[in-house]
C-alpha cells in the first residue's frame, strides 16, 4: 500500500519561479540534504526535514548552469557545469563559485552523474562518458564522438550493479529511440534500438528505469497514456551491434492528454510508479501512484496549480514544482500485496452474497443469528429472561423472517414495496429487536448511497420514531440527511439520538442556520419546543410600564431593552432548539463551532440573546412551551459560541452591537442579583410578617368536633 502524505513546500524557492522548471534535484552526501539547481544560475542546498536552505551558490552573471549540480559522494564536494564546458567543484564552505576549482573541458557536457559508492561520471553530448578522476587528470583530453549526427540524448540514468557502475542513456533520432548501456569497468558500450509498437503516432514522453541483476527494466510513458516496459540486458549476450528491443505494455490509460509541460514517470520501487499528469482529458494535473504488479491505482493527489512536468524521487520524498514552489510530498510504498493493492476495493461486495448483520445484538448469545434453527435452544439456555424466552421463540423466528424479507426487499424493491414490508415489520416489532432496525436502516442507506435518487424518507422517519435507534446504530443516517438537507429528519435525530458526535451536531447547526427561509416554508417540523413569540410580544408591550426609580436602584440601561422580536422564523427556531437540547461535550464541540460562518454565528447569537431575554422576563426563568430550552442550555451555548468565535464576532459591526447588548444585559442582571442579596434580610422580615399574619396568634379558643 502506497500512500502520499501531507505535502510541504520548500521556502525561498524564488529560483523556481520560471515556468520551464528546474534543472534538477539531486541527493547530497548527507541524508535529508538535497541540491536543487535551477535553469539559470543558482544551486541551493536544502535540508528537507527542516524545510530550509543550508547554502546557496550562484555563477557569475552571463554564465549559465547547463547541468544539475551533483555531489561527489566520495569527497563530499559539489560539482556543477556551466556554459556546457566549464566544470566547477566546490566545498560546502566555499562562498563564491568564481573562486572555486574550475576545469574547462574540451567537449560539451550533457550531464554529470553521481551516486553512492562510485566516482561521478561525466556524460558528454557526444555520447562519450568519462570518470571524473580521469577527466580531471587531463581536462582538455580529446572526447570521442559516439552518437551519429542529429542523435540527441533524451534521458540518462546511472546505476551501480554489483559494484559495477552502469550508465544508461536513451537517444532519439528521427523519431527512433536508441538505448546505450555503458559499462565502465569493461569500458563496454552496447547500443540497442528500441522498437515501438504498431501505433507509430504515439510519442514516448518519459522514461524511468530500475535494475535487476541482469536487466535494466526501462519503463516509458507514451503519449497514448500507456506505460510500456523494455528489458535491456546489462551484459550483452553477444557482441552483435544494434540489437533490437521490444517493449511490452505494462499499464493502460495512466494519463490522457499532454499538458504543455509534459508528463513524467518515476519509478518508486519495483512495484510502484509515480505518474505526474492529467488522469482524464481536460482534468487538472495529478500525481498518482500506481501499483504495476497488480495494475491498481494506489493513491493520487490533485495538483491544481500545474507543474513543470518534472518529478524526482529520492528516499521517500517526491520533489516537484507545483505552481511556482518546489513541493515535497513524502511518499511511502509498503510491501506490495494483493490485499494492499485492493485496498480501495475492499468494500465492494458481490451483490449475490448474503450480507451479515452489521450490528451485534448483545441481548442474545453470539452464534444464534436471526432465523437460525438452534437459536431457540440457545435462547432456552439463557438464564436471563427465562420466562419471556419460553414464550418468545415463535415470535422471534417470525420477526427475524420478516426482517430478512425486508432486507432483501430493500436491495431491489421499489420504495412503495419497501414501505409495505416495513409496515409489516413494525407491526411485529418489539423494543428488543433494535439491532434489526439498525440493519434495516443500514440497508436503506447503502442502497441510497448506491442510487442517489433513492431516498426512502418515510421509512427512515418511521424507523427513527421507534425510539430505539442511536447514532452509533446507524452512523450514515444523519450524514445522508445532511447531504439531502432533510432538516425534518435531522431534527428528529437530534431529538431521539443520545450519542450524536459533536461534529455532526455542529454540521446540523450549520445547515439549520444557513438553510433558506423559503425552503423551510414547506417542511413539516415539530414545533413543540417553540411557543408563539408574537403573541407574548404584544402582551408585553401592554404591560410595559414607565420607568420608575425604585429605592435608589437603577436597573442600569433599560435602553438595552429593545423591542424584542424573534430574529428567526418559528420553524428555524424549532430546529435550533433541537440543537440546543442535544447533548454535547464542550471540548469536542468548540473546534467545530469555529467553522460556522460569521453571519450564521451572529444570527444564532441573536436568537440565543432573544431567548435569554424571554427567559429573564418571568420569575421562574423559564420559557413557555412544552419542551423549551432551559436557561442553562441557552447560557452555555452563548458562552460556547463566544468562546469559539470571539475575535470573529468582534469584527462584525452588527454582532458588536449584539455583544454590547448582551454585556449590558448580563451586567444589569448581576447588579439585580447583588441588590437582591443586599435586601435579602428585608425580604426575610417581610416573609416573617407574612407568616405572623397567617398564624393565629398565641391564644385562641376554637371549636373542635370529633367524629
Amino acid at each position: 500500500m502506497a500512500a502520499l502524505e501531507e505535502e510541504f513546500t520548500l521556502s525561498a524557492v524564488t529560483l523556481g519561479a520560471r515556468p520551464d522548471g528546474l534543472l534538477g534535484v539531486e541527493e547530497s552526501d548527507k541524508t535529508d540534504h538535497f541540491l536543487v539547481t535551477d535553469r539559470s544560475r543558482t544551486v541551493i542546498l536544502y535540508k528537507v526535514s527542516d524545510q530550509k536552505p543550508l547554502g546557496s551558490w550562484s555563477v557569475k552573471q552571463g554564465q549559465i548552469i547547463t547541468c544539475p549540480a551533483v555531489c561527489n559522494f566520495q569527497t563530499g564536494e559539489h560539482i556543477v557545469v556551466h556554459d556546457n564546458k566549464v566544470l566547477r567543484i566546490w566545498n560546502h564552505e566555499d562562498v563564491n563559485l568564481d573562486k572555486v576549482f574550475k576545469a574547462t573541458l574540451s567537449a560539451e557536457v550533457h550531464r554529470v552523474h553521481s551516486i553512492q559508492g562510485t566516482e561521478p561520471v561525466v556524460l558528454f553530448k557526444s555520447g562519450a562518458a568519462r570518470g571524473l578522476e580521469a577527466l580531471l587528470a587531463e581536462p582538455q583530453q580529446k572526447i570521442e564522438t559516439v552518437l551519429s549526427d542529429g542523435e540527441v540524448i533524451k534521458w540518462t540514468k546511472f546505476f551501480v550493479v554489483y559494484r559495477h557502475p552502469v550508465l544508461v542513456f536513451i537517444t532519439e533520432k528521427d523519431g527512433n529511440h536508441f538505448a546505450y548501456v555503458q559499462m565502465f569497468n569493461s569500458r563496454n558500450l552496447s547500443k540497442y534500438t528500441l522498437l515501438l509498437g504498431q501505433e507509430d503516432n504515439s510519442v514516448t514522453l518519459s522514461f524511468t528505469a530500475y535494475v535487476d541483476r541482469k536487466f535494466i527494466f526501462l519503463m516509458s510513458l507514451s503519449s497514448d497514456g500507456c506505460i510500456y516496459e523494455t528489458l535491456i540486458p546489462i551484459y550483452p549476450s553477444d557482441t552483435e551491434k544494434n540489437q533490437r528491443l521490444v517493449r511490452s505494455l505494462l499499464l493502460k490509460a495512466v494519463v490522457s492528454g499532454i499538458p504543455p509541460n509534459g508528463v513524467t514517470l518515476t519509478i518508486l520501487d519495483q512495484d510502484h510508479v509515480a505518474v505526474l499528469g492529467p488522469p482524464r482529458p481536460s482534468s487538472k494535473e495529478c500525481l498518482s501512484i500506481w501499483n504495476i504488479k497488480f495494475q491498481t491505482l494506489q493513491t493520487s493527489k490533485e495538483l491544481p496549480q500545474g507543474t513543470s512536468g518534472q518529478l524526482w524521487y529520492y528516499g521517500e520524498h517526491l520533489f516537484m514544482l507545483h505552481g511556482k514552489c518546489l513541493t515535497v510530498v513524502p511518499c511511502k510504498c509498503g510491501v506490495s500485496s494483493l490485499a494492499g493493492a485492493l485496498g480501495k476495493l475492499k468494500h465492494t461486495q458481490d451483490p449475490g452474497t448474503q450480507t451479515m448483520p452489521h450490528h451485534v445484538n448483545w441481548e442474545i448469545s453470539p452464534g444464534c443469528g436471526p432465523g437460525s434453527q438452534n437459536s431457540v435452544q440457545l435462547r432456552r439456555t439463557l438464564r436471563r429472561k427465562k420466562n419471556e424466552v419460553s414464550l418468545q421463540p415463535e415470535v422471534a423466528v417470525s420477526e427475524a423472517a420478516v426482517s430478512e424479507q425486508l432486507l432483501s426487499t430493500i436491495k431491489n424493491g421499489s420504495e412503495k414495496h419497501i414501505e409495505v414490508e416495513l409496515r409489516k415489520f413494525l407491526a411485529k416489532w418489539t423494543p428488543d429487536s433494535h439491532t434489526a432496525v439498525g440493519d434495516i436502516i443500514t440497508g436503506l442507506l447503502e442502497r441510497s448511497k448506491a442510487e442517489p435518487s433513492f431516498y426512502p424518507r418515510n421509512c427512515l422517519i418511521q424507523l427513527v420514531q421507534t425510539h430505539v435507534l442511536s447514532y452509533s446504530l446507524c452512523p450514515g443516517l444523519m450524514d445522508t440527511a445532511l447531504e439531502k438537507t432533510d432538516v425534518q429528519m435531522l431534527q428528529l435525530c437530534l431529538q431521539q439520538f443520545p450519542d450524536i458526535p459533536e461534529s455532526v451536531t455542529c454540521a446540523c447547526l450549520k445547515l439549520f442556520l444557513s438553510i433558506g427561509d423559503d425552503s423551510l416554508q414547506g417542511i413539516n417540523i415539530n414545533m413543540e419546543s417553540v411557543f408563539d413569540y408574537s403573541n407574548t410580544e404584544q402582551e408585553e408591550k401592554m404591560e410595559e410600564q414607565p420607568e420608575i426609580l425604585r429605592n435608589g436602584f437603577n436597573p442600569e440601561d433599560s435602553n438595552c431593552k429593545e423591542t424584542a422580536s424573534c430574529p428567526v422564523m418559528r420553524k428555524r427556531a424549532a430546529l435550533l432548539n433541537a440543537v440546543l437540547h442535544a447533548a454535547y461535550s464542550e471540548t469536542f464541540l468548540l473546534p467545530h463551532l469555529k467553522d460556522i460562518p460569521a453571519q450564521d454565528i451572529t444570527l444564532f447569537l441573536q436568537y440565543l440573546y432573544f431567548l435569554y431575554l424571554k427567559c429573564s422576563e418571568n420569575a421562574t426563568m423559564t420559557l413557555p412551551g412544552k419542551h423549551p430550552p432551559t436557561l442553562s442550555q441557552i447560557m452555555d451555548w452563548i458562552c460556547l459560541l463566544l468562546d469559539a468565535n470571539f475575535t470573529v464576532v468582534l469584527m462584525i459591526p452588527e454582532a458588536k452591537r449584539l455583544l454590547i447588548n448582551l454585556y449590558k444585559f448580563v451586567k444589569s442582571q448581576i447588579s439585580v442579583y447583588s441588590e437582591l442579596n443586599k435586601i435579602e434580610v428585608s425580604f426575610r422580615e417581610l416573609q416573617k410578617l407574612n407568616q405572623e399574619k397567617n398564624s393565629r396568634g398565641l391564644y385562641s379558643i376554637e371549636v373542635l368536633e370529633l367524629f
Binding site: 442579583y673 416573617k688 407568616q691 398564624s695 398565641l698 391564644y699 379558643i701 371549636v703 373542635l704 370529633l706
Partner: protein
C-alpha cells in the same frame, strides 16, 4: 364523639437547649445527649428511641464532652474543669472531680474502657484510671502549647491523637510523649484564616488519623510519617464533629452549615482489594451547626444548635426495611413540662430556671367545628417564679385547686401557697421543708389538693398532707429492698386511694394510700412506661409504653381488664404502632368512664372502649367523614380510636371539663425564630 371548646395555647415560650454532645453506647444501645445548659439525656434506642432518663442541667456546668466507659458508666466534662460521673440508677451525679487543668474541652475513654483521657485549656492531656467507684488521676502527657480540643485513641490503646489549634499531636501512651506533630493548613479557599481549629480527630487502627477543622476540611494523615494523605474540602464553614463506625468502614462528619456527610471506605474498582475513603452521602437535616455526631452500627446520629436530635438509619445496614428504618427527628423532651389546674383553669409552664403560671381566657360564644370563637377574656400571665441557685428545675406541679405550686431542683424542694384575691395573687413559700425532701423527680397533687406525692431519686415516695399554709409528712414508701431505682412517673386515683409509681425499667407499683402500703405490682413489661393514669370510679390504671402499647390494669382486681386483653389479642393498628413520639399524658373524661384521652407530640386520641377496635384494614385516622353519609356506614366504620392531628407539635393536652380541652402547642417556627441565626448562605445569584 362530641364537640369541644379547645383552648389553643401557643404562648409556652419553650426553647429546647441546643445539643452539645452525643455519645453512643453500643453495649446497651443507648445514646447519651448533653445539651448546652448541661442537661444530659439518655435515649434508649432499643425502646423506640425513648428518652428514659435525664439529668438536670446546671448554669455553671457547660458540658463539652461526654463519654461512656467501662460498659455503662457515663462521664462528662465541661468548661468548669470538672469531670462528672452520672448515677444511671438513682439519676443523680455520683461525684464531680476537678481535673486541675482549666476548662476541659475533650474527653475520651480508652478502647478497653478502663482509662479516661481529657484535654484541657492549658494544653495538658491527663490520663485517669477508672476505679470501680471513682476515677483516679494517673499522669500528665507532654504539655502542648494550646488547648486540646479533640482526642482519639488508637484502637490498640497504644497511641492517641490530639487535635489542637493549628496542629494535631500523636502521643505515645506508654511514655506520654508527643511523637508526631502534624501542622494543619490554615489556608481557607486561598484566604489565610487566623487560626485553624482541629475540632475533631479519629484514630483508625491502620494508623490513619482523620481530622476535621475550622477551615472546612476533612483530612487524612499518616500517623507513622506525619504526612497528609488526602484532603476533602467539604464546607465553607467549620467541620465540627466526627464519629467513626466500629468497623472503621464508614464515618460521619457534621459541619457548621448543618450538613452531615457520610464517608465510606469503598473499593477503588469492583472486586479490587484496594479501598479508599469516598464521601458518599450528604444529609441536610439541620439548619444550624452540627456540634456532635455519633455512629451507631445502623445509623448516623447528629445533633446541634438547632436542638434536633436526628437519627438517620443507614439503609444498607438495616436488615428489615420496616418503620424503624425511617428517619427520626427528636425535638421535644419525652416528659411533661406543663401541669394544669382544672378548677381554676391555670397552666403551669416549667422552664429551666423559672416557672410561669397562666390563667386561661374565656368566651361566651358558641360555634361549629373549626370556628375560632371571640374571646371575652384573654389569657393572663399570673406569675413568673424564678428559681434560686444555678440548678435547673427538674419537675414542677400546680395543684388541681390552683393554690399550691411545688417544684424541685437537684438539691432543693420548694412548695408555695397561692392566694387569690380578686385579680391579685399573692405567693407564700412554705418554709421548713423536711430534710429528706431535698430533691424530687416527680411531684403530684391529689385530686382534692390535700395530699402531695413526691418521688425522690432514692426510690422513696413521700406522702405529705397539705393543710392551710403548712404540711405534715404522712408516710414514706421505701423502695423494694435492694433496688435504688428512681421513680419518674406518678399517678393518683381521683378518689385519692391509689397511687401508682413507675421507675425507668422495673414495673409499675401501686400503693394503697389509705393503708399506706404496697397494693400490687403490675407485671413487668420490657418497654419503659411513658405515661400512666388511674381512671375515676373504676380505678383502672392505664399505662402507655414506649413501643406504643396501651394497657389497662384493674387495681382493685389486680389484673388486666377485659378490654386490655382484647387489645392485646387483636393487636393495635399498625399506624398506631408506627407513631414515633411517645404518649406523654393520659387523662379521662369525668362523665364518660369509657373514654381515655391520650396524646403524643403529633396527635391526640380519645379511645372509646365501647366501640370495636380498628383492625389493619380500617382507616385509623379519618378527620372528616362526609356529613351526608348514612348512619349505617358510619357505624360500620366507627372504631375506638378518635384521632385528631390538628394541634402539633402538641406538648400538653387535657380535659378541663366535659366540653373543654386545653392544648399547648409549640410551633417549630417559633423555636427557630429564637435560635441564633444560621450561617448565612447566599440566596440570589452565585
Amino acid at each position: 364523639m362530641g364537640e369541644f371548646k379547645v383552648h389553643r395555647v401557643r404562648f409556652f415560650n419553650y426553647v429546647p437547649p441546643g445539643i452539645r454532645c452525643v455519645a453512643y453506647n453500643n453495649q446497651s444501645n443507648r445514646l447519651a445527649v448533653s445539651r448546652t445548659d448541661g442537661t444530659v439525656e439518655i435515649y434508649n434506642l432499643s425502646a423506640n428511641y425513648f428518652q428514659e432518663k435525664f439529668f438536670p442541667g446546671h448554669e455553671s456546668r457547660a458540658t463539652e464532652a461526654l463519654c461512656w466507659a467501662q460498659g455503662q458508666r457515663l462521664f462528662s466534662a465541661g468548661l468548669n474543669g470538672e469531670i462528672l460521673e452520672y448515677d444511671l440508677q438513682a439519676l443523680n451525679i455520683k461525684y464531680a472531680m476537678d481535673a486541675f487543668g482549666g476548662p476541659i474541652w475533650s474527653m475520651i475513654a480508652s478502647p478497653s474502657g478502663s482509662q479516661l483521657l481529657i484535654g484541657c485549656e492549658d494544653g495538658s492531656v491527663k490520663l485517669f484510671q477508672i476505679t470501680p467507684d471513682k476515677i483516679q488521676f494517673e499522669r500528665n502527657f507532654d504539655r502542648q502549647k494550646s488547648r486540646i480540643l479533640s482526642l482519639s485513641w488508637h484502637p490498640s490503646g497504644t497511641h492517641i491523637a490530639a487535635g489542637s489549634i493549628d496542629y494535631i499531636s500523636v502521643f505515645d501512651v506508654k511514655s506520654g510523649s508527643a511523637i508526631r506533630k502534624m501542622i494543619v493548613d490554615r489556608q481557607y479557599m486561598s484566604v489565610s484564616k487566623r487560626k485553624c481549629i482541629v475540632w475533631g480527630v479519629a484514630f483508625l487502627s491502620d494508623g490513619t488519623v482523620i481530622s476535621v477543622d475550622s477551615a472546612g476540611k476533612v483530612q487524612f494523615w499518616d500517623s507513622a510519617t506525619g504526612t497528609l494523605i488526602k484532603s476533602h474540602l467539604i464546607a465553607n464553614a467549620d467541620v465540627q464533629s466526627i464519629a467513626v463506625a466500629d468497623q472503621e468502614d464508614s464515618f460521619v462528619v457534621g459541619t457548621a452549615e448543618g450538613t452531615v456527610f457520610h464517608f465510606q471506605l469503598v473499593s477503588v474498582t469492583s472486586n479490587s482489594t484496594e479501598k479508599q475513603w469516598v464521601r458518599t452521602k450528604p444529609f441536610q437535616h439541620h439548619t444550624h451547626d452540627v456540634r456532635s455526631v455519633a455512629h451507631s452500627p445502623t445509623a448516623l446520629i447528629s445533633g446541634g444548635t438547632d436542638t434536633h436530635l436526628v437519627i438517620r438509619p443507614l439503609m444498607e445496614k438495616v436488615e428489615v426495611k420496616n418503620y424503624d428504618a425511617a428517619l427520626r427527628k427528636i425535638t421535644f423532651p419525652h416528659r411533661r413540662l406543663i401541669s394544669c389546674s382544672k378548677k381554676k383553669q391555670l397552666l403551669l409552664f416549667q422552664f429551666a430556671h423559672h416557672l410561669e403560671l397562666w390563667r386561661l381566657g374565656s368566651t361566651v360564644a358558641t360555634g361549629k367545628n373549626g370556628d375560632t370563637l371571640p374571646l371575652s377574656k384573654n389569657a393572663d400571665h399570673l406569675l413568673h417564679l424564678k428559681t434560686k441557685g444555678p440548678e435547673n428545675i427538674i419537675c414542677s406541679s400546680v395543684s388541681p385547686c390552683g393554690s399550691w405550686i411545688a417544684y424541685s431542683t437537684a438539691c432543693r424542694f420548694f412548695l408555695y401557697r397561692l392566694n387569690y384575691e380578686h385579680d391579685n395573687i399573692s405567693l407564700k413559700r412554705v418554709s421548713k421543708m423536711p430534710a429528706f425532701l431535698h430533691s424530687a423527680l416527680q411531684i403530684l397533687f391529689s385530686e382534692d389538693s390535700t395530699k402531695l406525692f413526691v418521688a425522690s431519686n432514692q426510690g422513696c415516695l413521700h406522702v405529705i398532707q397539705l393543710l392551710e399554709g403548712s404540711f405534715k409528712h404522712l408516710h414514706t414508701f421505701q423502695p423494694q429492698s435492694g433496688t435504688v431505682e428512681a421513680m419518674c412517673l406518678l399517678a393518683v386515683s381521683p378518689d385519692g386511694n391509689w397511687l401508682a409509681a413507675s421507675g425507668t425499667s422495673a414495673g409499675v407499683h401501686v400503693y394503697n394510700v389509705k393503708h399506706l402500703k404496697l397494693h400490687c405490682t403490675v407485671p413487668a413489661y420490657n418497654f419503659p412506661v411513658t405515661a400512666l393514669a388511674i381512671a375515676p370510679n373504676t380505678n383502672y390504671l392505664v399505662i402507655a409504653h414506649s413501643d406504643q402499647q396501651v394497657f389497662e390494669y384493674s387495681i382493685p382486681d389486680k389484673q388486666y381488664t377485659e378490654w386490655s386483653r382484647n387489645v392485646q389479642k387483636q393487636g393495635l393498628h399498625h399506624l398506631w404502632l408506627q407513631r414515633d413520639t411517645p404518649i406523654t399524658h393520659i387523662s379521662f373524661h369525668p362523665k364518660r368512664p369509657m373514654h381515655i384521652l391520650l396524646h403524643d407530640a403529633y396527635m391526640f386520641c380519645i379511645i372509646d372502649k365501647s366501640l370495636p377496635l380498628p383492625n389493619d384494614k380500617t382507616v385509623l385516622y379519618n378527620p372528616l367523614p362526609p356529613k351526608n353519609e348514612s348512619d349505617v356506614f358510619r357505624r360500620r366504620t366507627a372504631h375506638a380510636f378518635k384521632i385528631s392531628k390538628i394541634y402539633k407539635p402538641l406538648l400538653f393536652l387535657d380535659l378541663l371539663d366535659e366540653r373543654t380541652l386545653v392544648a399547648v402547642e409549640r410551633p417549630l417556627d417559633d423555636i427557630i425564630a429564637q435560635l441564633p441565626p444560621p450561617i448565612k448562605k447566599k440566596k440570589f445569584g452565585t
